[in-house]
Subunit: 411 residues, 2 copies
Amino acid sequence: MQSWLPIAPDSDFSIHNLPFGIFSDERPARAGVAIGDWVLDLAAAYALDLFPHYPEAGGVFRKPVLNDLMTLGREFSDYVRKTVQHALCEPGSVLQQYAGHLLIPLRDVQMHMPMKVGNYTDFYSSEEHAFGVGQLFRPENPLFPNWKHLPVAYHGRASSIVVSGTPVRRPWGQVGQKDGNPAFIPTNALDYELELAFVIGKDSVFGRPVPVGEAEDYIFGVVLFNDWSARDIQRWEYQPLGPFTSKNFASGISPWIVTWDALQLFRVPAPAQSPAPIPYLAANPRTNFDLSLSVSIKPEHGEESVVCQTNARHLYWTAAQQIAHHTITGCNLQTGDLLATGTISSRELTGKGCLLEATVNGQQRIQLANGAERRFLEDHDVVCMRGFGQKENVRVGFGELRGKILPAISA
Amino acid sequence: MQSWLPIAPDSDFSIHNLPFGIFSDERPARAGVAIGDWVLDLAAAYALDLFPHYPEAGGVFRKPVLNDLMTLGREFSDYVRKTVQHALCEPGSVLQQYAGHLLIPLRDVQMHMPMKVGNYTDFYSSEEHAFGVGQLFRPENPLFPNWKHLPVAYHGRASSIVVSGTPVRRPWGQVGQKDGNPAFIPTNALDYELELAFVIGKDSVFGRPVPVGEAEDYIFGVVLFNDWSARDIQRWEYQPLGPFTSKNFASGISPWIVTWDALQLFRVPAPAQSPAPIPYLAANPRTNFDLSLSVSIKPEHGEESVVCQTNARHLYWTAAQQIAHHTITGCNLQTGDLLATGTISSRELTGKGCLLEATVNGQQRIQLANGAERRFLEDHDVVCMRGFGQKENVRVGFGELRGKILPAISA
């Protein structure tokens, strides 16, 4: 595919991608598709009759979230993408004729939360991460007995999920001390967690499990996810019901939802599972996506340093297994829900998806450019996550997920 | 206050109560207020100009959830209640003139979820319950070291919260076995949890803790809450991130939101706390509500038996403390969120708010009428929760929260 629009070969937003998002300029927030350095205004394109097969669907492009658009199903979003793809390749198309009106430079728009998140669930699907964290606290037995039998997860906080660029304030909280009493301090162990999140695009039925073989039908697309965590608060609060305030202050997502269709080229077999999972979790084939992921830290007056490089292909539990497990009791999924993978790590020392692992719970320091070091995040640090698939000359990426740490509220 | 409408003296829906809910008859779901054996159709009352101080507010009564009504603030809902109260007492009021049109028998309406729940958080605020459950699994040290320093909680699943009357299917899940491998079975340890849930009626700001002294301003009202639980699934899955599928299949709420204003008469001092909480949790006065709570079980072919009688007055952590802790990191609350108390138990053997406690994790049986017994719930059991405050001749109650157990989906 070759477009009349100049698109850099290393652009995350190639003609093969065309992710959906919500943007605004001087006009209100509405739906768009990213292409190269531009956003295509879908509401304006609809008004020019670019999508004739769905003459009634125009309203979904003018909404400030994509939930209604997703509700129309992947048939609809695939049609929109294919139509845009075609128009971007066809010289003299309406899109090209009105390019000045329909294509807005990305640098001139503000991105918003792409969806209203109903519920957000965070899994723990990377064996390298679960083993790595387990080793810190239970060296004799890093994985709990349940870990290889089910995708462990917890329900997270949806209200505080924010779009890339939203700064995050260092939270206060209770932290355990040697004398058994907690201190009340701004966290000293602020961390990121590099994850992917699957965006649910279809409601499931209350009381009915989703079979693992049908699970992927419920996924609209994927975003990068940063599950900000305060490790010292987490350690004190998490027993017996799991993490709460240590993770509820903010989670970040990348603004562009890369569609399920755009990711198919990057399918790879998932790692073999032993023991074999219980049939409701046994998919054949089991696949992941070959997506390169990275994290960088940029100190306030310093240079940006990449501190993690890993890949989503190694996840032990797949998206389909996560969904099958989530719904096995009859719990219903809703359009706009997010199912995150949990921190994605690899075996390499440079492939740890959070500082807890990379610094061995703050006992070691990681090196940044120009002699800077970190145990955990410092005020004014900017954390940036990136991810993309590349197969020969086809690249499909997420763009950036950025968040800056603001100092704690003063006492 | 004396109404021209005949209201039974033991009605939960006295003239002092006037809770808000969403009901439908042959016409679509809309807002109403319960009074005695009737529901007052607020949309119809508005059309008859019953609420002249808010001439623009009519739309909120026609919505199928109360979120927009709550967003108008407690000033608005208090005005509506006071106006209705006055009209119910004033002979010849418009309400009396059009009573046949405005008041619909409760038995003729269908109740619906009163709000769209954004996020639901379940606390663990009853010391008697936390101690009782802790004793089962850690007799030497029932309360974790954090328990007296903060209100322990976890984020629950909001999509599967259902209104009273919705049947609940016995879920399948993984259950640990002696050989270390899980069995995949319908739960053998299906349980209820008797709770209250505070309904949030005002958004808080992302990044800003809500001070404990202002926390109650965020509460619109209170409902009964049943956090259905599968204990055997919970035991296998909960480490290290807390309960997940064992509680995500369903939670029940009572359909009528009893307003914060209506509960004020039942304020009582909360139990003293030792050690003294950290200042952000230190409210003065700290109060609970004197509300009698009960649970009954009715087997398919048997009689209803009350199996628990307790009271909300003993909660160790109050609603204000729950909110202050929830937001201390900057996590934002949203209108429609639910903050549940966790199981409410008392010291007495008859005051255990769940079967896990009442049957010592299924090791003992509780007795029902006519020789029936239960370790955990059986198929076709109907669980009914009730709650009310009574002060002299003033009664304010929640009505009933019912749920019937359906057999598991066949294998």
